[in-house]
């Protein structure tokens, strides 16, 4: 297929030299959900040299409305997303070296992948992983692109180590109790809009057109017709522990991570968040009920039957997930509900 990339190389900022650069680069995609599916498809079609995609979940029926790489067959087979994505992406473009990794994107895994990675694309669903990506990106000087969405709202920001502020400059701490797609819902166009922003930035980074990289933090609400572009020139914090003058990369440290413990003989995983989150139990109960589950509660905890699992959440953000010994599955359920 000699003319495979002809329309892309006709675009002057890419051209033939840009295409050669794209095909020599390695992109790591963290997450293979809605954003991960779409981002991966765009980059694989664009002819990126190598794509590694990591995810800990398997395909479920409620994914199909927006997660564009998956089919009903994948749901029936309960295929891990990383495996289903790898298969589909290889069918789309056999020239790209594609590797799916089934598992948790822990700081250790991210560090192993860092060598030889030109760009990291955030397609995850939680801030714990994003802060780890942020620290790895700073430590190994890898550009990364934040993207997130919920309901009809989405946002993206491109982080270039040594140039732009980092995610820790902006947030300072892991945000508490954010809305997630499992609690606030999500529509396909919000996903696609974030993907468009992330992949446009990705192409700029891959062809090394640094001047074209967007320096503002973009956010939009497609239903309420809001679009905001926030200038970030004053956001860089010289004392930031991730990108400041004396970086410590705090989120690579185990103390900052949610602790998961498998409770022996109880078929239960306990998840303890790194900070006391102060969860509003009544509100969480309402959100889980809205998903169609039976929720019981008292002032100290709420308990919900969710398929084979029982989810028990305490006021300090600690949770017990009964009916599993799989920590990745338990963390996945936790992050889907609490972000």
């Amino acid at each position: 297929m000699n003319d495979r990339y002809s329309r892309q190389t006709l675009f002057p900022p890419i051209g033939k030299p840009g295409q050669e650069k794209i095909s020599s680069k390695h992109v790591v995609m963290i997450g293979a959900g809605a954003l991960g599916s779409g981002n991966a498809e765009v980059l694989v079609r664009a002819g990126v040299g190598r794509l590694t995609i990591i995810d800990r979940d398997y395909v479920e029926g409620s994914n199909l409305q927006r997660q564009q790489l998956y089919t009903e067959e994948d749901v029936a087979e309960k295929l891990p997303k990383a495996a289903a994505a790898e298969k589909r992406l290889k069918a789309i473009n056999s020239e790209v070296e594609i590797r799916g990794i089934i598992g948790d994107a822990t700081p250790e895994v991210l560090a192993e992948l860092a060598e030889g990675t030109d760009l990291i694309i955030d397609s995850t669903d939680n801030f714990e992983t994003r802060m780890a990506i942020n620290d790895i990106a700073q430590k190994y000087k890898i550009p990364w692109i934040y993207g997130a969405c919920v309901a009809s709202f989405g946002m993206s920001f491109t982080i270039i180590p040594g140039e732009t502020p980092c995610l820790n400059c902006l947030l300072k701490t892991i945000p508490i109790q954010g809305l997630t797609c499992d609690t606030g819902g999500i529509i396909g166009p919000a996903v696609q809009m974030v993907i468009a922003h992330q992949t446009a930035e990705a192409l700029k980074v891959l062809v090394e057109d640094w001047e074209a990289v967007r320096t503002s933090f973009v956010s939009f609400d497609l239903w309420r017709n809001q679009y905001s572009s926030m200038k970030m020139s004053r956001a860089k914090d010289p004392h930031c522990l991730s990108c400041g003058d004396h970086p410590e990369y705090p989120y690579l440290n185990a103390d900052y991570r949610a602790k998961t413990t498998i409770l022996c003989g109880r078929d239960t995983v306990q998840i303890r968040p790194p900070h006391q989150r102060g969860v509003n139990l009544q509100e969480m109960a309402g959100r889980i009920k809205a998903l169609g589950y039976d929720v019981k509660g008292n002032p100290y905890l709420i308990s919900a039957e969710m398929g084979p699992n029982r989810f028990v959440l305490f006021q300090d953000g600690r949770a017990l997930i009964h009916g599993t010994k799989d920590t990745a599955q338990a963390k996945s359920l936790y992050n889907r509900l609490l972000g």
């Binding site: 997450g31 959900g33 809605a34 954003l35 991960g36 955030d122 397609s123 995850t124 669903d125 939680n126 801030f127 994003r130 993207g147 997130a148 969405c149 919920v150 309901a151 709202f153 989405g154 946002m155 502020p165 902006l170 947030l171 300072k172 701490t173 945000p175 508490i176 109790q177 954010g178 809305l179 997630t180 797609c181 606030g184 999500i186 933090f217 956010s219 609400d221 309420r224 809001q226 905001s228 572009s229 926030m230 200038k231 970030m232 020139s233 004053r234 956001a235 914090d237 509003n280 992050n335 972000g339």
Partner: protein, 77 residues
């Protein structure tokens, strides 16, 4: 006076798309507390703030006429 814009789910929590109030001389942190109390919203600690479309740190002092936007970071993906 200052105009304050709410993004995403903050708009539902506040019940308004935007409000007007006098925040001159207050820091961003102080304004967040004040708004959260008046509109019975959850804590706005982790919400990003833009003043006149530029990112503003928590200790930034608000001037008359500044337009302030509260943008909550979201985590879905």
């Amino acid at each position: 006076m200052n105009k304050i814009l709410f993004f995403a789910h903050l708009r539902d929590e506040a019940g308004e798309e935007s409000i007007s109030l006098d925040a001159e001389g207050k820091t961003v942190e102080e304004l967040k507390q004040m708004v959260a109390e008046q509109y019975q919203m959850k804590r706005l600690d982790s919400v990003m703030t833009a003043i006149n479309e530029e990112f503003a740190p928590g200790d930034e002092v608000i001037k008359a006429g500044d337009v302030i936007a509260f943008i909550p970071p979201v985590s879905g993906g």
